[in-house]
């Protein structure tokens, strides 16, 4: 009985604490949901500060990017402008959430990796075009939508990572060459469920035609060192472990290993080389993570201010540095790691294509048995 009382006491105590938290939470919730109205009411009676806040208002952000530096940037934006940034962070499902919500959405800005996703948002009529001189001068034409519906924020390259011990870079040339017999059971790549692979194949559909793209996918499946498992980092580690000799990976995963706190991971990164394929032909596949103003956004001005803020040199450097990506703003400096890999020729396609070809790419992967 005594023990039961103890348990009950602790539970009651935790309830009390939770109850208090709950009240606070509820109050915060209320502020979030009714921000505009409440501030409107308050202005009549209270201080100038509140008036400022009301002027500044809020910005509601859906993002599938979530690095700690991103959050620092949101804070910085709030400090500079007084605009409060509300965030829902998730993955692919956010796109669907935005679609489902339609006109009723609360989101103002959507940030997501992969131009394919952004292009599909536009195709679904969920984005709007933005007139902003800041954006058009900060972001190269190629890395934004032709009607300015979305803007690239960081740039990533999908490259061939090879074992320095077993592969001479002179053996490497193109993505297509990896389907040749010399690479049998030597190629490592993650599952087709991943959007990076889908966009890669989507770019081949555009550049080489559907038939060639399908042959490429089938050829890679035939040359795979193992059934796809894990993420890009796992492929890089598998190269060093000797499971395969080359891996297709985004550059920033190698960058992250190089800068890891775990010395073993640094060792791994030092044993691989980064090769930019297709330099003499179509160029290395690049993609972006980018932002778009939502069609039914309620705080359009703040949304534009926010994206402009993210495109300025200072923010760009932080933004890209957080994940070892390439900044889109040509004036921003790149990290030491990225400098060491050198410059490269990029695929020259309109990134919008990646969205158009996405479903076909997924189907091809399934058809050729790419897990």
């Amino acid at each position: 009985m005594n023990r039961f009382k103890q348990v009950l006491f602790v539970l009651l105590l935790s309830f009390l604490v939770l109850g208090l938290m709950g009240c606070k939470q509820a109050a915060e919730e209320k502020t979030d949901a009714e921000e505009t109205t409440e501030t409107e009411q308050k202005t009549e009676e209270t201080t100038e500060q509140v008036a400022n806040e009301q002027e500044a208002g809020v910005l509601n952000l859906y993002t599938t990017r979530h690095y700690d530096t991103d959050e620092e940037l949101y804070k910085k934006f709030t400090e500079e402008t007084g605009i409060k940034v509300n965030v829902i962070s998730g993955k692919d499902e956010l796109v669907q959430r935005l679609k489902d919500e339609g006109e009723a959405t609360e989101a103002d800005v959507f940030i997501t990796a992969d131009a394919g996703n952004l292009a599909r948002l536009k195709a679904d009529g969920l984005t709007q075009g933005i007139e902003s001189e800041v954006l058009t001068s900060n972001i190269p034409e190629k890395l934004r939508d032709d009607e300015n519906h979305w803007f690239g924020l960081t740039k990533r390259a999908r490259v061939i990572v090879y074992s320095k011990d077993r592969v001479d870079p002179s053996e490497l040339s193109t993505y297509e060459a990896l389907t040749e017999d010399t690479w049998k059971e030597r190629v490592l790549i993650r599952s087709s469920e991943n959007i990076y692979n889908q966009s890669l194949l989507a770019s081949f559909i555009e550049l080489n035609g559907e038939e060639e793209a399908k042959n490429w996918a089938a050829g890679i499946v035939a040359n795979m060192a193992r059934t796809p498992e894990g993420g890009d980092t796992d492929q890089v580690k598998a190269v060093v472990a000797g499971e395969g000799d080359v891996a297709i990976s985004n550059t920033y995963y190698v960058g992250r290993l190089l800068n890891s706190t775990d010395p073993e991971e640094v060792k791994v990164a030092e044993q691989v080389g980064v090769f930019f394929p297709n330099q003499d032909t179509t160029g290395t596949h690049i993609n972006i993570s980018g932002a778009t103003v939502v069609k039914h956004a309620k705080n359009v001005d703040n949304a534009v201010k926010f994206i402009e803020f993210l495109s300025n040199v200072e923010a760009q450097e932080l933004f890209a540095e957080g994940n070892n990506e390439y900044p889109v703003n040509p004036n921003a400096a790149i990290t030491e790691t990225l400098t060491s890999w050198g410059a490269f020729k990029e695929q020259d396609i309109n990134l919008t294509i990646l969205g158009d070809n996405n479903t076909r790419a997924i189907q091809i992967f399934n058809e050729v048995g790419w897990k």
């Binding site: 709950g22 993955k91 894990g230 993420g231 472990a241 997924i362």
Partner: protein
């Protein structure tokens, strides 16, 4: 006239509330069922041709093998703890529930992090002993690895349920078997397993539902199952109709499992005519046998708890300076708030429905009480589809209503926490309800009837007699739900309001971005909080046994 009278007696506050709650639970399911029969599109034929067979195959293999392994480990441990006394038995008795504190997806990331090329095992072999190993044997990312993960972190369901069954039910049978000369193995296989069949099957079904529902583990290990396919068609292909169809197919599978459970259980019930159940006297093991049993328990406990815990601890040490900030307090606060609010509401709703179906015997209340389990059988992702759709409708009608009444407020349910909490309730009501229903069954209705005869109202009796008598079950139910929600992933990810992350979503976010050591701090917090809750749960259970 009689009908009116019947309606009058049946239609009271309890009934009305019960119906409302049940309706809320049913809505998303109805929505899915309706969509299931819609016209198939091109994608669906593609899925049927290239994926469905794989999905079925993988899901079946996972279910069958995890079912078998959890049964073996769970029941053997329950048996040993119940009938033997050996070193550290009293600790293992509750320690073996602790693996439940580790969400399987965190277990998966931890083990893969440990065995991979830069993990602790291989680096030690390489750097200290200069041994290069074949990678084939050092990957968790296979069917076997997935089964291992599910087994290690889900077997406690079987263990807890079989243990409490054995402790309460079987002392005299086991003692008689012993008297008749059966040795331990014989007693276990010929007596214990058959009589605890009902309890075991019930608990294995819970394990299977958890496996079906998992997203984190199979996503990371690249095993294509129903859930990963639903996510892929819904989010990657943007095809909600086909996702609904997959979800519907999955519900058929779930119903098949539930029916299979009924068949295996059969009508046989081994219960006692007398309420006097004497506790089992534990046989004291000595020498090799004692250490054998001890080692078995230790190995399982290490694999399911100590090893992942220690690994996460080391990762936390490596990263906490960068990771642990004051935002972590917000994460803890959010997790606590969401889990306790939902658990509290579930307990209240559970009490109302259980009390209603207890007072009014009959078909309708029985059906009602069965529907509560529906949410737990339906995968979180599927519930999320339904809940979002319903809240969209709600928001639209609310805004129309406000405009009509010309109120100048915008109140959006979707971006408030209401939507998430509702989804939790739909999903986890069964967990709390089962505990409460079991509590009611145990005390019977004699006390309630006595109280009513003495002139108390139903409501008065409810508060003065019923609730105090089953408080153990209520607290137990609350804790189970609380821990479940703390670990919950798909619903929280899909339905989060603005600026609302939990420990689980934060841990998954880091891990999913391939930053496993950064995920350690959030993971450890989940494990610690769940661990403490499980300890209390054990105390509540223990107390129930002694009374």
């Amino acid at each position: 006239m009689r009908i009116i009278q019947l309606v009058k007696t049946q239609l009271n506050m309890w009934a009305v509330l019960s119906f409302i709650f049940i309706l809320i639970i049913l809505l998303p399911n109805i929505l899915i069922a309706v969509n299931f029969f819609g016209e198939p599109n091109e994608n669906w034929f593609h899925i049927k041709e290239f994926l469905l067979l794989d999905i079925f195959y993988n899901t079946t293999i996972l279910l069958v093998f995890t079912g078998v392994t959890t049964t073996i480990i769970g029941t053997s441990l329950a048996w040993m703890i119940t009938v033997y006394s050996f070193p550290l038995r009293n600790f293992f008795k509750w320690g073996l529930i602790l693996p439940l504190a580790i969400p399987p997806f965190i277990g998966a990331y931890t083990y893969q992090g440990m065995v991979n090329y830069t993990g602790f095992i291989q680096t030690t072999l390489r750097n200290t002993f200069d041994i290069q190993v074949n990678q084939k044997y050092f990957s968790m990312m296979s069917m076997e690895g997935t089964i291992f993960i599910f087994t290690m972190f889900l077997f406690p369901y079987v263990y807890v349920i079989s243990k409490s069954f054995l402790e309460n039910q079987s002392s005299s049978i086991i003692e008689n078997a012993r008297l008749l000369g059966a040795n331990s193995l014989e007693t276990f296989f010929r007596v214990v397993l058959p009589i605890s069949r009902t309890a075991i099957v019930g608990s294995v079904v819970i394990v299977m539902l958890e496996v079906i529902n998992d997203y984190g583990v199979v996503k990371y290990f690249g095993i294509q199952t129903f859930i990963t396919s639903i996510f892929q068609t819904w989010f990657a292909m943007g095809d909600k109709e086909s996702a609904f169809k997959l979800a519907g197919t999955l519900m058929v599978v779930v119903i098949a499992i539930l029916m299979l459970e009924k068949i295996i259980r059969g009508r046989k019930q081994y219960s006692y005519s007398t309420s006097k159940v004497s506790p089992i006297r534990q046989k004291k093991l000595k020498g090799v046998k004692a250490w054998g049993v001890f080692s078995y328990c230790l190995v399982i406990f290490s694999l399911g708890f100590i090893i992942p815990f220690v690994q996460l601890f080391f990762w936390m040490i490596m990263t906490y300076e960068r990771i642990l900030s004051k935002e972590f307090f917000t994460l803890i606060k959010n997790s606590f708030f969401a889990a306790s609010t939902a658990a509290l509401l579930i307990v209240i709703i559970g009490l109302i429905i259980a009390n209603y179906s207890r007072i009014h015997k009959g078909v309708l209340p029985r059906i009602l009480s069965r529907i509560t389990i529906l949410g737990y059988s339906v995968p979180g992702a599927v519930i999320a589809i339904g809940v979002i759709t319903i809240f969209l409708m709600l928001d639209r009608s609310l805004s129309t209503l406000f405009t009509m009444l010309s109120f100048d407020i915008t109140f959006v349910l979707r971006t408030s926490i209401v939507m998430l909490i509702s989804a939790y309730i739909i999903r986890f009501l069964a967990v709390g309800y089962n505990s409460i229903e079991a509590g009611f069954e145990k005390v019977g209705s004699t006390f309630t009837e006595a109280s009513r005869t003495l002139g108390s109202s139903t409501l008065g009796t409810f508060f003065k007699v019923d609730i105090p008598m089953i408080r153990g079950a209520i607290i137990g139910g609350f804790i189970l739900v609380f821990v479940d929600i703390l670990k919950e992933l798909p619903l929280t990810m899909l339905l989060q309001p603005f600026n609302f992350q939990t420990l689980a979503t934060r841990a998954f976010r880091y891990a999913n971005d391939e930053m496993i050591s950064e995920a350690a701090s959030a993971s450890l917090l989940i494990i610690l909080i769940s661990g403490i809750c499980i300890y209390f749960f054990h105390k509540v259970l223990d107390r129930g046994e002694r009374n």
